[in-house]
């Protein structure tokens, strides 16, 4: 295995393209190093992205935020404006692992590792985040929900790098929230994750995106759940309908973290609870 730490994106792309064997990009390493140790992956080349400034910045852009793919969760949590505009995304990111993991884990890693249970992903999908990708053929943009294609697989080519994630400008009365279910109070992989982002217009929900994690082979956007609350005052009936739509969209597996029936049920419970929080935030926001 070789290790390189280029200081420009071009050098990183070139190094990956030049390596015929297995390449892995290193941000926080909280997934990669675990996989290295267990023998799950044996890279020929590890490209450390953290010396590339673009991957380490959080910048305001067009009223929204561009977050470098290698920015760690702790830094995201410490950014005051980000937390005010996108509390759900920040919460979701900060739920990943322990304080120590937060000192390293990144949105880029969370998206590209493509665990169906990744905590930041449902919140990013609900936020309509867009990923900026760099490769040998230049740059392109991809909505984050199109990144993961299955457990551990993404739509990126082998020499493409996720450089940053863009969160759009927030309308005035908008709120987002993320909740996950885990058996303990911390440290567990999500059994179910629900990310909700909604906008109010005169007290009525004018737009919404609801995404679920850990209930399918990748995080999924659930248009039917959003439709259940758009055009309503997000009352009890709408919440129930959204919860039911969320449960109906689940296609989970039975595994040591949860059964199909349990995940399906809890997806509905968390969708309702996350929607209530997003609603509170949208009402309070300005």
């Amino acid at each position: 295995m070789r290790y390189e730490a280029p200081s420009t994106l071009e050098d990183a792309v070139k190094a990956a393209a030049a390596e015929p064997g297995v390449v892995r990009f290193l941000a926080g390493g909280t997934d990669l190093l675990v996989q290295l140790r267990s023998g799950m992956v044996e890279p020929d080349l590890v490209v450390d992205l953290k010396r590339i400034p673009e991957t380490r910045r959080i910048a305001v852009e067009d009223g929204g935020f561009r977050i470098g793919a290698a920015v760690c969760g702790a830094e995201i949590g410490e950014h005051p404006a980000l937390g005010t505009a996108w509390p759900g995304v920040v919460e979701a990111t900060q739920l990943i692992g322990s304080t120590q993991i937060q000192g390293r884990a990144s949105l880029g890693g969370n998206l590209c590792n493509a665990s169906p249970a990744a905590d930041s992903v449902p919140a990013l999908i609900a936020a309509a985040a867009v990923a900026a990708i760099a490769g040998p053929n230049g740059r392109r943009e991809v909505p984050v929900e199109a990144l993961a294609t299955g457990p551990g697989t993404t739509s990126l080519a082998r020499d493409e790098i996720l450089v940053s994630i863009f969160l759009p400008r927030r309308p005035t009365h908008a709120g987002d929230a993320y909740l996950r279910f885990i058996p303990r109070s911390e440290m567990d992989i999500a059994v179910v994750g629900a990310g909700v982002s909604l906008t109010l217009d005169g007290g009525i929900c004018s737009a919404a995106r609801i995404a679920l994690g850990a209930v399918a082979e990748r995080a999924i956007l659930v248009p039917a759940a959003a439709e259940a609350i758009v055009g309503t005052a997000v009352d009890e009936a709408a919440l129930s309908a959204a919860a039911a739509a969320a449960s109906a969209a689940c296609r989970p597996i039975d595994d040591k973290r949860g059964t199909k029936a349990y995940r399906t049920k809890v997806a509905g419970v968390l969708t309702r609870r996350a929607t209530e929080i997003a609603l509170r935030r949208a009402r309070a926001g300005s």
């Binding site: 390493g29 190093l33 140790r37 120590q100």
Partner: protein, 162 residues
């Protein structure tokens, strides 16, 4: 296999070492530099026994490659007492009997120090959530939390007088 040659700072001292690309920082600290205070409890970032700070950030050394230490600043348990005496956290841990077997203690002390540097007056809940990544199997966490809260109070009092 080409070794990585790394220049870094550990507990304030300039250090150089060679390591294999796949070696973790924990491997390097323990096996190449003889700094065995950081412990391997799991090797996968789930137990916190290998906690160190990297440029002031609390991390698990088992999830950092040795090569990544280049040009960075690392602090381990061995650097916590400053040569003139114990850090208040270390003293409070002894006073409160906040350790039994002691294997998790270095990681918890490093983590607690990082907490108090960011949040000098944490609540019990904040202490518990901050330390959730540090497993202890002996104490049930009670005396650990008390020791951290007591150290925070003492350090704050010291700052006020200081």
């Amino acid at each position: 296999m080409t070794s990585c040659r790394v220049s870094t700072t550990i507990n304030g001292d300039a250090v150089e070492f060679l390591c294999a690309p796949e070696e973790t920082l924990l491997d390097v600290l323990r096996d190449r530099l003889g700094l065995t205070g950081s412990k391997e409890g799991c090797g996968s970032g789930d137990c916190g026994a290998c906690s160190v700070t990297l440029d002031g950030r609390l991390v698990c050394a088992c999830l950092v490659l040795g090569a990544e230490a280049e040009g960075r600043r690392i602090e381990t348990i061995e650097g916590m007492a400053d040569g003139k005496g114990l850090h208040p956290l270390q003293s409070k841990f002894l006073e409160h009997a906040a350790l039994q077997c002691g294997i998790c203690t270095p990681g918890i002390l490093v983590a607690a120090k990082a907490l108090l540097e960011r949040n000098p007056a944490p609540s019990e809940t904040e202490v518990r959530y901050w330390l959730a990544g540090n497993l202890c199997r002996c104490t049930g966490y009670d005396k650990i939390v008390r020791a951290v809260l007591d150290a925070a109070a003492e350090m704050a009092a010291g700052t006020r007088e200081g």
